[in-house]
Point group: C2
Chain length 561, copies 2
């Protein structure tokens, strides 16, 4: 077999496509039509399905689980519909790394037999198809993480006898809960880009607006969900990697704190950087589906199998105590480094107006400098001097993607000296403590007797992004530096009429200039614009409630207009 | 003022002694008598007190809190009694770094006034004197951590305007709960020795057997409690530092998991080593006092002020579910590197026999190699190449204590390269996961339907230790590497008749040889021998119950004889 990376990648892409059943292969004219459209989600992709497939794949995971458990649909019906829609999504949008529909069908048949025989489901995710970012190891399935050099290996190592055998703990948990695993989704090289592009499959664009990127690093997940090919997926997040694609593709996402869910046996970039680690994140077509997967996983007590997971079951009380309460939000629209584009500012304003209208208070968020946070965050991302990335690229002499050129140059550099790395760890602690002090101090301003309940802030300074023009990750990275919980929700779409370019805007600095200059209302038109709702560490329960409250408030406002 | 370390140390020692009221200064003949005795605890020190002072200082913290809250004693009576006994303890045993009895008396008066006026206590620790290892910052009090170079500075830095002002979060929490702070206890240079010796105060010996060390690093705490000068204290533990002195001095101790209690603003050695961090630990004269301080501290929600603390209140259910249950213990007597001395082996056997007699099961513990654990543990302790230690010593050109010579040589060496440090972090995760898998696997052998409930193991391979002869920390370090919870309890005392030297013992290796050869039944006679009860991560509640069960079983066995 060729060890030329281009050949390996071409073979891998072809193999993946061959796993799509002949009946689901799209006609050339459909593909051509898709290329001409800006938006291929919604009716475009739906029209390729039967009415029943459409009905099924438009349901969220909560409804799917419920309907399967009531015998409305079989697991096989649901699985087939999602596999088909995912197959279409991949052909239209190039969002999958791995396809294993046959294993999925087989599992669905088993689950249906179990249900028929016992009258019971085997778990709360019985029959629910769940897609996985291609960092998760699934038995009998390859993990490439987008590296051509990982094809036919275990994380780049040949002949370990672990390839196709090792399974991530979280994946095994999902199986035990009844989930159907059927595909793995695309991601960018090294996982450190807010777009999705690698040498193995090329680029995944944004199916809602094909002029833009789907975001990243869990970009294939975002795109697949926007296309209806998945209602629930698992990604990871060290700088915004579930929240960015969710916001860019118009789906829901939560980045829990590290240690709430198992990262054990999940492939990763620079895994030894354990000071500010990447966290498991979830993406779904509804907020309650995020809750469904979290409560389900925690019901398996992952802390008994993964030493990094904290013994903390789902706390219903924390979730409930927020409801029917008058809340106080804080809003943070501008970090004074890069001003968000008009669609994002409008989305933030819509949320602020909606929650105010619903009787909640909103104050300004004036935390310790987010500049400082960016610097500390970067120090961990750059710590290994690119050693891990260049090692993986070196396996088949793959080129670096241009989006990483600024971060990783032309080859590995000296890693950060240990004492500096340790000092950075203390800087992070100190910053986090000051941030917490600030948060606590807001109790004097909220009028609720509590500190601020959640912070409304941008996910990124743009609604989706033009490829190559993602300059500033500060709005999402702050959450990782602090290891906070954050929920991203879709709010609106960029609208060339409502969101004109402001040529009088005074740039704050060169990056701000670049970002602002790149706002083109014509190109961005139609791109989803979401916001983040940031809570504290291990605040997953409360933030699910808060997100629900905000969504209700937004819906109510929408209804009024 | 002199900047010669000897002069600075002499001045500091004299200043500390001057803080003892004239009326409490011990006569020369008492000091001389003390030097001639092996054991200066119990009746020896008690005889220097009035009957009421003796009665008060013999109570544990739970009784003290209760009696104060019922008006049996005032906070001032209790404080005065403990200050007096601590003053005697220090003069006899050299166990204090800082004395602030006047602040303590003043606080006691305030608390008494509050109680008299309102009829209420201000918190669950109202009036309870609590001693602190000299890593904790207390307002108006110096922190030297045993470094002459830290005198008149803030952690070695001059003119920071923070000296005497900064307070550790946990200290502020204790104050808010009503605790009386009155002294800080001695520790060894760099905190990395199982003895207590530094250039500032010299050596703290074991008051139960003055031929031996009190242990370390929270050695002053152990000694002070053995002498009755404290019923409850706070220490820290990265390799056994609360459990070792507790076992050596015959008191109780718990090392909780890191992140359960606040380490914020606590002085430390090599604080940037955050991968396998030192944890807050507690020492007390009863197990329920350990529970009292833990529940009290958690009632203040420390996670709202310290980003490293996990949002986890005290879980009564976890504590209760162990009671009235038939448990399965595992026993681990020998790590195959160093065989414990006969008194420790007998202590382990006593515990095993007692819990069996009480109806519990005991199986053998056969975990992944503890050798491997020692290597990984060491890699973190050595990571900075001694940079921190030599920096502190360099302030006044202090010499290294001989106990650290093997670990830190004659000056700083190159720190571990970052990539190796990161790889060690992954080794630790992998080892922890395998250890957990092993623990889970015992469910097949216990007969309880659960995995092993707790592991009985030595704290150290000797009952206390002859100075300079502590060669192997593996029994305690395993708990830190895994970040598990462990409770140390006193079991028996070394007895030259019951614990003879076995000259036929076959050494496993040179360290084992050294350790075994150093067992002298005559010298060790009377030294406390304790054991550890090891639970899992964040298992504090359950382990308090388990310790109670073991203590009951032991008491019952004692009664029978």
């Amino acid at each position: 077999m060729s060890s030329n990376w281009k050949a390996v990648a071409a073979r891998k892409r072809a193999e993946t496509l061959r796993k799509i059943p002949q009946a689901w292969v799209l006609a050339r004219d459909v593909l051509q039509e898709a290329r001409l459209r800006r938006d291929i989600t919604g009716t475009f992709i739906s029209s390729l399905l039967s009415w029943e497939e459409r009905l099924i794949t438009d349901l969220d995971s909560v409804s799917l689980a419920l309907q399967i458990s009531h015998g409305v649909y079989t697991a096989l019906q649901v699985t087939s519909a999602f596999c088909k829609r995912a197959a279409f999504a991949h052909q239209l949008n190039n969002c999958l790394h791995e396809i294993f529909f046959e294993d999925a069908r087989q599992r669905a048949v088993e689950l249906d037999e179990y249900f028929e025989t016992t009258g019971n489901t085997i778990g709360p995710l019985h029959g629910v198809p769940i897609s996985l970012k291609d960092q998760f190891h699934v038995k009998n399935v390859e993990t490439t993480m987008g590296y051509a050099g990982w094809v036919d290996t275990f994380e780049g190592q040949k002949d370990t006898s672990q390839e196709f055998k090792i399974e991530s703990q979280l994946v095994t948990e999902l199986r035990s809960l009844g989930a159907i695993l059927y595909c793995k989704t695309s991601l960018p090289q090294a996982l450190l880009v807010g777009e999705t592009v690698n040498n193995l499959i090329g680029t995944t664009m944004n199916p809602v607006n094909q002029k833009l990127s789907c975001g990243g690093s869990s970009g294939g997940e975002g795109a697949l969900q926007a296309l209806g090919g998945s209602s629930l997926g698992v990604g990871t997040d060290i700088g915004g990697s579930v929240r960015i694609p969710a916001a860019f593709c118009g789906t829901y996402s939560i980045k829990p704190s590290f240690g709430r869910f198992s990262y054990r046996r999940v492939a990763n970039s620079s895994p030894g950087q354990t000071i500010m680690p990447s966290a498991i994140g979830f993406m779904a077509t509804s907020v309650l589906s995020l809750k469904l997967i979290m409560t389900s996983l925690l019901s398996t007590k992952p802390w008994l199998r993964d030493p990094d997971v904290v013994d903390m079951p789902w706390r219903n009380i924390a979730e409930l105590e927020v409801r029917n309460t008058s809340l106080c939000f804080a809003v943070f629209t501008n970090d004074e480094k890069v001003t968000p584009h008009p669609p994002v500012i409008r989305a933030i304003k819509m949320v602020v107006d909606a929650v105010k209208k619903a009787g909640h208070k909103v104050i300004q968020w004036e935390p310790p400098s987010h500049f400082e946070a960016c610097d500390i965050h970067q120090s961990f991302i750059r710590a290994d001097g690119g050693a891990d990335l260049w090692k993986q690229l070196g396996l088949l002499h793959e080129p670096l993607i241009h989006q990483l050129a600024e971060l990783f140059g032309t080859g590995p550099v000296e890693p950060t000296p240990l004492l500096e790395y340790q000092a950075n760890s203390l800087k992070r602690k100190d910053y986090s403590a000051r941030y917490m002090e600030y948060w606590n101090s807001t109790a004097e301003k909220t009028g609720t007797g509590r500190a601020v309940d959640a912070v409304i802030l941008p996910v990124a300074p743009h609604a989706a992004v033009i490829s190559g023009k993602f300059y500033h990750y500060g709005y999402s990275e702050i959450v990782n530096l602090l290891d906070y919980t954050s929920v991203a929700i879709p709010v609106t779409r960029a609208d060339k009429t409502l969101d004109p370019f402001d040529s009088n805007y005074k740039y704050m600095n060169s990056v701000d200039h670049q970002n602002w200059a790149d706002y083109d209302p014509e190109i961005y038109d139609g791109a989803p614009a979401g916001v983040q709702l940031m809570g504290r560490r291990f605040d997953e329960e409360r933030m699910i409630s808060v997100a629900g409250i905000v969504i209700d408030a937004l819906s109510y406002t929408h209804l009024e207009h």
